[in-house]
């Protein structure tokens, strides 16, 4: 009796330590990854062939002005000290001034980021809504014509240059057919009507009840969002298919059939339930990929998001802006990974 009591007690207490240790380890590795990311951007910033002082003071500044700024930027200190300055700045959300428009980079990023998020969110939404069912159906009807179609859709998605497909989309749907709005987020006529609250025009115009603006914004976003949606559909449907195939050959699926369940219940209630956790990871990853894929898409569609921002900055050698944008996208990448990890733990009973 007493033996089983202590046993129970141990069972209650024991899981706590590994859990804390696990969490600390995870937090530690996240911190190291973030530090590493900042170190890489720092190094990139240092090996730049552009002289940051010259970029601020201009070609014709006197030597004394040059020296003053040189010191002010901390360039006379050892590299490691400079790195800690840089770290401290980033932690405070200070990415320095944009050399192009002399505004803080962080402000710029805060302004352009919602546009990217709006686009990527809509894109990944399209990808999930179409990609998951396509993947499931392809797996269930493996080898059928629908599986072949799903395969071709994915292959084309993996092989098509996104910027070119965007151009073709613009050519056909905007240039020839005139079904959608052109580049940009709104026609000039509709600009500056709706007050900025979230920075996402669809949301802002809906909040303000300006439905004509909403419609116009939608006609502009539908093409780039579908484009990104197609890319995430290719990825999501492929992964869904292979996850489902794995589950459908599992023995518990036979059990479900032996019970007398309908095929639909077998697929959705049993097999699909088992891939939900893996799908979360795939979706998080695909969202992260879209943030990246939006770089080229934003250029094509003149979309004022973070991708356009980084590229414009790059072409005008505005290194603070480039690195600031890179750091922000990188941090979001890491955060999405952490999030999918967390969701994994919450939803998978085996991980508890």
């Amino acid at each position: 009796m007493s033996a089983s009591d202590t046993n129970q007690e141990r069972r209650r207490r024991a899981p706590l330590f590994p859990w804390i240790k696990g969490t600390l380890l995870t937090l530690g590795s996240i911190a190291v990854t973030m530090l590493g990311l900042l170190f890489v951007t720092f190094v990139i910033g240092r090996v730049m062939p552009i002289d940051p002082v010259l970029a601020i003071v201009g070609e014709r500044a006197s030597q004394s002005t040059y020296d003053a700024v040189y010191e002010q930027l901390g360039l006379d200190k050892p590299l490691i000290v400079q790195f800690f300055y840089y770290l401290w700045d980033v932690v405070r959300g200070d990415f320095g001034m944009s050399l192009l428009n002399a505004r803080p980079v962080s402000e710029d990023i805060a302004r352009v980021f919602p546009a990217t998020m709006e686009l990527a969110t809509l894109g990944v939404f399209v990808g999930i809504v179409l990609g998951v069912p396509l993947g499931v159906v392809a797996a269930v009807n493996r080898g059928s014509w629908i599986d072949q179609i799903a395969r071709v859709v994915a292959l084309v998605g993996y092989s098509m240059p996104i910027f070119w497909l965007g151009l073709m989309g613009l050519l056909v749907f905007y240039g020839v057919l005139g079904w959608v709005g052109g580049p940009g987020r709104l026609d000039i006529f509709y600009q500056d009507i709706v007050p900025t609250r979230t920075g996402m025009i669809l949301l802002d115009s809906a909040l303000a009840g300006e439905w004509s603006v909403f419609r116009n914004a939608f006609s502009h976003i539908v093409l780039p969002a579908s484009l990104l949606g197609y890319y995430s559909l290719a990825y999501i449907s492929r992964m869904t298919r292979s996850f489902m195939l794995e589950q459908l050959s599992a023995e518990y699926v036979t059990t479900a059939r032996v019970k007398g369940l309908s095929e639909r219940a077998v697929i959705w209630r049993h097999a699909f339930k088992n891939i939900r956790v893996q799908l979360i990871t795939v979706i998080a990853l695909s969202y992260a990929n879209l943030l990246e894929g939006s770089v080229l898409t934003e250029i094509i569609f003149s979309w004022p998001g973070i991708g356009s921002y980084i590229t414009t900055a790059l072409l005008s050698a505005d290194m603070n802006a480039v690195l600031g944008g890179t750091v922000v996208v990188g941090l979001i990448f890491i955060c999405l990974n952490i999030l999918s990890d967390l969701l994994y733990r919450v939803f998978d009973p085996r991980s508890k």
Binding site: S29, V32, T33, G36, L37, V40, T41, I44, G45, V47, M48, P49, L155, V156, Y158, S159, M160, P161, I162, F163, W164, L165, L167, M168, L170, L171, G175, R238, R241, S242, A288, N289, L291, E292, G293, V295, L296, I299, I300, I310, T311, L314, L315, A317, M319, V322, L323, G325, T326, V329, G330, F333, I334, N337
Partner: protein, 308 residues
């Protein structure tokens, strides 16, 4: 004539034998088996065909191209498809698009070949060393790998190119820098399984050093999974290179790089659509070919992971 067929017959027999007579014989027979499986996959063969054609076109570019790809002719600019002497039309400077495409295939192959040489080799080095040595070396190397994996690849490549300056070589370097971490992961995983195998212990007992074990026994076994991964990644490499070219960060004008050609044609997309469309189709075809071949190779070399 009949001599030749019987010779072929015996070759085939020799290659399909159940009882190989030597190690080399066994290896060749194995390769032949793989080739037979691959040949049965019509899509993979289609991809291989396109790639061989591309190679041929790149080799024979001066012979095949009807015009000098750099020769401008402003009076002859933006000619449509099917123009006499310019089947695919001309671009904004009156240069023959077909000739530029043909010469552009050299650039594409150049980039792909360089990245395919640099990234997997770097990954193989890092991965096998991390996996074989273990301990702190492993932790540190894999942590670095994770950091590079945490970056969005294109954005990191952009930042690198920004630091190094635009140009083909720097684009190759930037793409390689973002492409090696997955290879390191694969190589490490393979090394970990091979390392603990009994025959490695046996070799070690015979006095083989770490260097010999890694280069002679671990590397050869990592190769096949790396090849599959490289082939599947080729499409991504081509798309990334084209993307950098499109942004003006890869090959510089007047170089006929396909991505840069799209970028040039973009300005005239509504009135002269073919200028941007044709190079895009070329990029699509080549990366599709790599994807098809990669799928087929995966089925041959790594059947457990086959999506068929």
């Amino acid at each position: 004539m009949s001599d030749v067929t019987s010779q072929n017959q015996s070759w085939r027999e020799w290659l399909t034998t159940d009882a190989p007579t030597s190690r080399r014989h066994a290896r060749l027979a194995n390769l032949y088996q793989g080739w037979l499986t691959l040949r049965a996959n019509s899509m993979a063969m289609f991809g291989l065909g396109i790639l061989l054609a591309l190679l041929l076109v790149a080799l024979l570019a001066p012979v095949l191209s009807p015009h000098d790809p750099f020769e401008q002719s402003l009076g002859n600019r933006l000619q449509p498809l099917g123009t006499e002497g310019h089947i695919l039309g001309t671009d904004s400077l009156g240069r023959d698009i077909l000739s530029r495409l043909i010469y552009g295939s050299r650039i594409t192959l150049y980039i792909v070949a360089l990245v395919a040489l640099i990234a997997p080799v770097a990954g193989l080095l890092v991965g096998t060393v991390a996996g074989y040595v273990g301990g702190w070396t492993d932790t540190i190397l894999m942590r670095i790998t994770d950091i590079f994996l945490a970056f969005p690849r294109l954005v990191l490549a952009l930042a690198f190119v920004a630091a190094l300056g635009a140009g083909i070589e720097n684009a190759v370097l930037a793409i390689s820098l973002t492409a090696w971490p997955p290879y390191a992961r694969i190589a490490r995983a393979e090394t970990l399984t091979i390392r603990s195998a009994d025959y490695i212990s046996a070799i070690r007992l015979q006095g083989a050093g770490a260097l010999r074990i890694i280069t002679k026994h671990i590397w050869p076994l990592c190769i096949s999974s790396l090849i599959v991964r490289v082939t599947l990644d080729m499409a991504g490499i081509i798309l990334a290179a084209a993307g950098l070219g499109f942004l003006g960060l890869g090959a510089q004008p007047p170089s006929p790089e396909w991505g840069a050609m799209i970028s040039e044609g973009r300005r005239f997309i509504l009135d002269h659509w073919w200028v941007a469309t044709v190079p895009g189709l070329a990029i699509f075809t080549v990366s599709l070919a790599f994807n098809l071949l990669g799928d087929g190779l995966r089925d041959v070399l790594d059947p457990k992971d086959g999506s068929q």
